[in-house]
């Protein structure tokens, strides 16, 4: 096993009866990185995390942490700590005792324990709260105590199970940024699972998109966004418009497609099973669509749609249009360049074919 990676898994499988929750997953997390596993609920990401923490055992495959095989190591002897979804702070202990719990298990003398506790509390921005009960703290403060409780043990790997889920929106946005800073500050390798693509994108160095027990794609957030490998990733990560059609021709890595509405458009080939005559789906992001009042410039594809309504949301404002029965969203720039749109008026939406991705239909 490569020694530079903090965590590597090889062909992990976990079955529950006939259901395979984790299906042949291999991954490699370099030291000091923020690795996210993104997937809808029920995709097996929590099961995977529990395998890593040691609460569950894989049916097949191996888990290595810094090159050491962990399969038969119980959770209390793994150099791994976990921040639980509902944090699981011990309500019968003070904040200081919660943080000191792990140190005490390592037989750290009381004086040193107090020092380390005070230090880590300072690092997470809660100095002097040792004697408070965790139940008296706010959601964000509790979050930090849960982090401090793990980080004080200097684990090789910190697992986080959607810890931001219980926070309100504003706090969540704030904690996202803070978590990323804390990760950089401590230099600990984070493995973070979430169903919220924005959390994964903002914080991670690498994101694995998980579906039905498998990884669809493992890539840095930007790559995931710009070059989704599967239709699922294209639809799950960020907003995307999906247009159905039939492949007419393939040339220069671009596919020409006749949409169900009859228009001929083009997009980049994203899967190698496209053939002239086969069904295909074209994915185009709302911000890649531009309003073309006249004929398109330099090889852009154009389609016609009728405006249904505009959705004002500051920088995220969009127009909802309809094209042969299916909705299509386009970003509405707020710098005055957008045309005035009235419902039921007809607009031309154009895009650079390089920004659209074409997958074979029915491929998942």
């Amino acid at each position: 096993m490569a020694t530079q990676s903090d965590l590597s898994c090889d062909g992990l499988v976990r079955r529950f009866g006939a259901h395979t929750a984790v299906n042949n997953i291999s991954l490699d997390v370099p030291a000091g990185t923020f690795f996210s596993i993104l997937g809808p609920s029920g995709c097996g990401k929590t099961t995977l995390l529990r395998l890593l923490a040691g609460f569950d055992k894989p049916n097949q495959g191996d888990i290595y942490i810094r090159g050491e095989r962990m399969n038969d190591v119980p959770p209390n002897h793994r150099p791994v700590n976990m921040v639980f979804q509902h944090l699981a702070l011990f309500p019968t202990m003070s904040v200081g005792d919660n943080i000191g719990y792990g140190l005490k298990r390592r037989k750290v003398p009381a004086a040193e324990r107090r020092m380390l506790t005070a230090e880590v509390l300072e690092q997470v921005g809660l100095p002097g709260l040792e004697n408070r009960n965790p139940m008296e703290l706010s959601g964000g403060q509790r979050q930090r105590v849960a982090l401090a409780r793990c980080l004080v043990l200097k684990p090789t790997l910190l697992l986080l199970d959607e810890p931001l889920g219980a926070l309100d929106l504003k706090l969540r946005e704030q904690m996202k940024v803070e978590l990323k800073h804390l990760q950089k500050q401590f230099g600990t390798t984070f493995v973070y699972i979430t169903h919220d693509q924005s959390e994964a994108m903002v914080m991670s160095d690498q994101v694995a998109v998980m579906k039905d027990g498998r990884f669809d794609q493992v890539a840095p957030p930007e790559e995931l966004y710009r070059e989704p490998a599967t239709p699922f990733v294209a639809g799950f990560v960020g907003d995307n418009n999906r247009l159905g059609g039939e492949v007419v021709s393939l040339a220069d890595n671009l596919a020409q497609i006749r949409l169900d509405s009859g228009e001929l458009v083009r997009g980049r080939v994203a899967s190698n099973e496209l053939q002239p005559g086969s069904r295909a789906e074209l994915y185009i992001r709302p911000e890649s669509l531009v309003f073309a009042d006249s004929l398109p410039h330099n090889g852009y594809s154009v389609m016609q749609a009728s405006v249904k309504t505009t959705l004002f949301d500051g920088a995220n404002s969009r127009v909802e249009a309809e094209c042969s029965g299916s909705p299509i969203y386009a970003r509405l720039p707020q710098d005055g360049s957008a045309p005035t749109l009235t419902p039921d008026s007809s607009i031309n939406l154009a895009w650079d074919p390089k920004l659209a991705r074409v997958f074979g239909a029915g491929q998942s």
């Binding site: 119980p74 639980f84 979804q85 699981a88 019968t92 719990y101």
Partner: protein, 286 residues
Amino acid sequence: MKSSASRLSLWLLLTPFLLWIVLLVLVPHIQMLRVSFQVRESWDTLAWGLEQYQNFFTESYYWRTFVRTGVMSLFTTFLTLLVAFPIAWYIAKMARGRSKGILFLACLIPFWASELVRTYGWMILLRESGLFSSWLQALGWADGPVEMLYNDVAVIVGLVYNGLLFMVVPLVTTLDGMDENLVEAGYDLGGGHATVLREVVVPWAMPGIVSGCIVVFMLTLGSYLTPVLMGGKDSAWFTEQIFTQFITRFNWEQGAALGVLLLVLSSMMVWLGLKLSGQSLRKVMG
């Protein structure tokens, strides 16, 4: 008008409770307290005095039985806790769906029979010609009939059995409310089984443990049938002495004094237990 109607309904709701408290709890106890301080001078004259209480302290048989009953009750309570905790843990944390209800019911079933029937059940098992004795002989582990009744062990076995449900119920209730992640966090941060039990599970279950212990202790201290039927000549229970004074010797004054002392003892033990475990009655009962 509205307020007087609501006040009336409040009083109507309170009446059964007040009747219960006043007639069945307060009046008898006050009466008992009064009787316990009366000294019978002749068949129709009474004087106030402490003679009954003096008797208790000078007659070693009284206070020895008293201390014995207290110590044995404490031991029984502790033993019940040890037996009930794994059961409660299983019901609250391991059993799922239907089996949970069935297990709970299984704990409840013995209580459909009266204490008397339950005690006779034990006697059938433990007596000289009983089931256990004949099994031991059949297996060749005993040469002749073995008498397992009429000793302290038999009494404690019977009492633990009687108290079990009252320990299991509050424990299941508190353990049910515990997040499994707390236990996992306990392991995750480096704790072993014993540590997690001591540092995480027991502190969480403390209100249930204390309320179960209070109920079982009081039940055990005040139980009568089990010690009488299953105990030997040397395993006298304090309630037997109260019974003897009231019924056999017709000495109500002495019986009342012993009753008051038992009440004081149990109240003191409960208070002490709450103090030692750092719990308050409100937290435990509420």
